[in-house]
């Protein structure tokens, strides 16, 4: 229950960090951000990195700012930063309600938004949000900087498009139109537990019918994804139980759920139907409250 020995590096600039990473990545060097997933894995000795590059002291990575029409989230921005809405409009409250589902309060004081993306646990709320909202990730290395779209970023369970020597420095979320309505629903068995299934839904209304629907499912397959069949079932329909039920059933029919010792594929599929309906209903209620 004690981590194995490793060499510790504490760079102060991004240039320094990626230079060290370039050197130590081939020797199983890893980035340490919040450490709320990596350190327990090290305590179990499931991970025994030879080097840790601690980015907590890197200048500028704690930046959380509105940059044009995007929210820029630096690599060291903690989950707790989202407890209160970080931007005006519909995105801030959505991120707050999602953040509350991540681990526990003390975990959220250390764990980071970008760390969750890089960890790519299928049950990660931020990974689902990134895919559903269409985030863009910035990866830096000594070879330069590149942008990776969320749909290309997540490759499988705890596997991303990041190369070993790349540092995820930032995630950018586009600010959605102010009349976008959101709903988020998650199921797990104990407080603070990993999501067994979760759904993030968003849509707008034009002339009384749904437009720009987004419905993302997480915790169900190896990576989060938007469900085109469910979105098609919403597009152009009046918001309400009938359209929501059709979309929820479409989502449940479209997923290929993982199984584990506690959870059968059928159970996860049923959860998708229930959670998709709840998330859509929540988005619908947001609509009534706004008087639309």
């Amino acid at each position: 229950m004690k981590p194995a020995a490793f060499s510790y590096h504490a760079p102060e600039t991004i240039a320094e960090a990626v230079a060290i990473l370039a050197e130590v990545a081939p020797e199983d060097g890893r980035v340490l951000a919040g450490g709320q997933s990596l350190v327990p894995t090290m305590a179990f000795r499931l991970a025994r990195p030879a080097h840790l590059v601690d980015i907590n002291g890197v200048e500028g990575l704690d930046r959380l700012v509105l940059d044009g029409d995007e929210l820029s989230i630096g690599a060291c921005v903690r989950h707790a930063a989202f407890h209160r809405p970080v931007v005006e409009g519909c995105l801030g409250p959505l991120l707050s309600s999602v953040a509350r589902h991540i681990g526990h309060y003390p975990i959220r004081q250390r764990g980071t938004f970008c760390g969750s993306l890089a960890q790519a646990d299928p049950a990660s709320e931020w990974c689902l949000a990134a895919v559903t909202l269409g985030a863009t990730m910035t990866a830096m290395s000594v070879r330069g900087s590149r942008q990776i779209r969320a749909r290309d970023f997540f490759e499988g369970i705890m596997t991303t498009a990041l190369a070993d020597d790349e540092l995820l420095t930032e995630a950018r979320l586009a600010i959605p139109p102010s009349d976008t309505r959101f709903g988020f629903a998650e199921f797990n068995r104990v407080a603070g537990g990993f999501a067994i299934a979760m759904v993030l839904a968003a849509f707008r209304l034009e002339d009384g019918v749904i437009t720009e629907p987004r419905l993302g499912v997480g915790g169900v397959e190896e990576r989060p994804r938007r469900i085109a069949e469910a979105e098609a079932a919403l597009e152009g329909r009046a918001p309400g139980a009938e359209a929501f039920r059709a979309a929820a059933d479409a989502a449940a029919g479209a997923v290929d759920p993982m199984e584990d010792i506690n959870t059968s594929a059928g159970y996860r599929r049923d959860l998708v139907a229930t959670l998709a309906f709840r998330a859509l209903e929540q988005a619908g209620r947001a609509l009534e409250q706004a008087g639309a």
């Binding site: 229950m1 004690k2 981590p3 194995a4 020995a5 490793f6 060499s7 510790y8 504490a10 450490g35 709320q36 350190v39 327990p40 090290m42 305590a43 179990f44 030879a50 840790l52 601690d54 907590n56 707790a80 509350r100 526990h104 309060y105 003390p106 975990i107 004081q109 250390r110 407080a191 603070g192």
Partner: protein, 159 residues
């Protein structure tokens, strides 16, 4: 790899100059190198919350940070709660409301609750329950812990 790092931890206002391997967790450094054994270690992988301490104002799991990351940080542990012989209002409330039995989890609950009440004295019941669900207690069934924290919150608001 086994190189030692010379660091200083400021625990409850007192500076401890220690020398630790990078793999030393903050929890172990507080207990072993600094001799402050009020901080307890339960699961050692971030689940139970027993090792919760306050680092630069934030309640964190000290088993999930390395001591070397806390060089120069200000750390508060259960030893720093009482004012001389006078228990902190939260400690008194825990006694009055029978919020502990074996006491093993108590330091973690106290540090979690102190940090939260100092940040947000007017915290609502729903948020408080959500936060207290962070830590595990195998004796009390939690009801008395919630009761004690609510009572202490009311008292701390008055002073």
């Amino acid at each position: 790899m086994n190189a030692k790092h010379d660091i200083t931890l400021a625990i409850n206002g007192e500076a401890y100059a220690i020398s630790v391997e990078a793999r030393r967790t903050l929890a172990d450094a507080i207990r072993e190198e600094c001799g402050q054994t009020g901080t307890h270690l339960g699961c050692e992988h971030g689940v139970c919350g027993t090792c919760t301490v306050i680092v630069d104002g934030a309640p964190v799991r000290s088993c999930l940070m390395f001591a070397v990351q806390c060089d120069g940080a200000s750390i508060r542990t259960v030893e720093g709660l009482a004012d001389g012989g006078e228990p902190h209002p939260l400690q008194r409330a825990f006694m009055e409301h029978h919020a502990l039995q074996c006491g093993f989890c108590t330091p973690g609950f106290l540090m979690l609750a102190v940090a939260v009440l100092e940040r947000d004295p007017d915290i609502g019941d729903e948020d408080l329950l959500d936060i207290l669900s962070s830590n595990l207690c195998r004796c009390t069934g939690y009801a008395n812990i919630v009761k004690a924290v609510r009572a202490a919150a009311a008292e701390m608001r008055q002073c």
